[in-house]
Symmetry: C2
Subunit: 234 residues, 2 copies
């Protein structure tokens, strides 16, 4: 097959020279996160290979990585199956996120942040405020994601950051779907502002308490939302 065949999305120059297996991994993951391969649906190795313009080998490698991350399930003869997120699964994921990000908040407050880092955090909070005022949910969720990422980076634990990203990705589609169903995240913003203050004050215990409460509330809201809407899988 012609090496330059491009069936899938066009690639930036930079992406084009990445190893095919890495491209396969990123593109498949993106397709899943964007809900373009819906939960529960299956995709054969050969299908994916054709779609991405490469052979089965790098595609298989990508699928193995995605399985290891908990995004898909590999069933022999049926290719990969995008794992649906049940309400119970969502509860499990948020229980883990609460623990990990709570530890991150504590560590961030213990280590302290410099002015530039605090400004970044504050900027994300402000961004959320603005988005909320203008009913821009997409912008709000982007700023929220940025806030959480910055927070976790402040903890200065690379393994922790990688784990949080991995687990958080598993809940991505659920957040996406419920974004328009949930009440306006007003309380969320208050929590974030209070957390920034706790980090500024170098108060690890308070930082952790605030963030854990924040995550727990978000989890309860999300899970009951999903349950009440009868969404068996996302």
């Amino acid at each position: 097959m012609n090496r330059t065949t491009q069936v899938a999305a066009s690639l930036s120059e930079e992406e084009a020279r990445l190893p095919a297996s890495e491209r396969a991994y990123r593109q498949l993951k993106q397709l899943i996160l964007d809900n373009e391969i819906p939960a529960g649906s299956q995709m054969l190795e050969l299908e994916a290979a054709a779609r991405l313009g490469m052979s089965r080998t790098p595609v298989r490698e990508a699928m193995v990585r995605l399985e290891q991350e908990g995004m898909v399930e590999l069933r022999s003869r049926h290719g990969m199956r995008v794992l649906p997120i049940s309400p119970d699964a969502l509860a499990e994921i948020y229980e883990i996120l609460t623990a990990l990000e709570g530890a991150a908040a504590e560590a961030a407050a213990r280590k302290g942040a410099d002015d530039s880092q605090l400004a970044d955090l504050q900027h994300a909070v402000d961004d959320m405020e603005v988005a909320l005022a203008s009913d821009d949910l997409i912008r709000w969720s982007r700023a929220d994601a940025r806030f959480h990422r910055l927070l976790v980076e402040l903890a200065g634990n690379r393994r922790l950051a990688a784990l949080v990203e991995q687990v958080s990705d598993q809940a991505h589609r659920a957040r996406l779907t419920t974004l328009r169903m949930r009440p306006k995240p007003v309380g969320s913003n208050r929590d974030h502002a209070a957390l920034v203050q706790a980090i500024r004050d170098r108060d690890p215990q308070r930082a952790r308490d605030i963030h854990e409460q924040h995550r727990r509330r978000a989890a309860q809201m999300l899970v009951s939302l999903v349950r009440d809407f009868g969404l068996k899988q996302l």
Copy 2:
């Protein structure tokens, strides 16, 4: 090549009929955990394939999984490199373990355990006592591992359990090496007994506090031990 060639460790009947990629994954991981492939050492795909009596394909798949787990690093042209555990890495790993297992202890106390489960936990504690009294460090560490595994299972969160195992494996070699260097784990046993009581009493907050303190102390001890002995990598 003859399909039955067996260069590596002999396999049980059961293991023999597992997919080659699964065998490769388990055997390579075991070799790493047992320190038979020392930290920092490299192994080419072809070497591993010859050693395991299979082709590069399943070996490569196994290596990808091990990399995703943080056990090895894949460097093009140099095969896989067993990641050494620096004191800083150990601190990172224990920070994560503390958070995850703390959450597990809390959940276990919240959900409660039935008599059989409590008995299993208690039995592990007793086992540690006996092992300690007879200076049997191997037995002690086995019982300790069992206790932690039971505890995490009690939380009833499969994703959490899988993550804890993955992260805990990363610290395995460090525990192994320091087992004979550390002071006798007397306090450890007291912590465990107190934790069982907290679960019995259905006191989530206390369970979590006890276990987090336990892990934090263990972490401090391990990290400073490793640092003081000048062990740059394990």
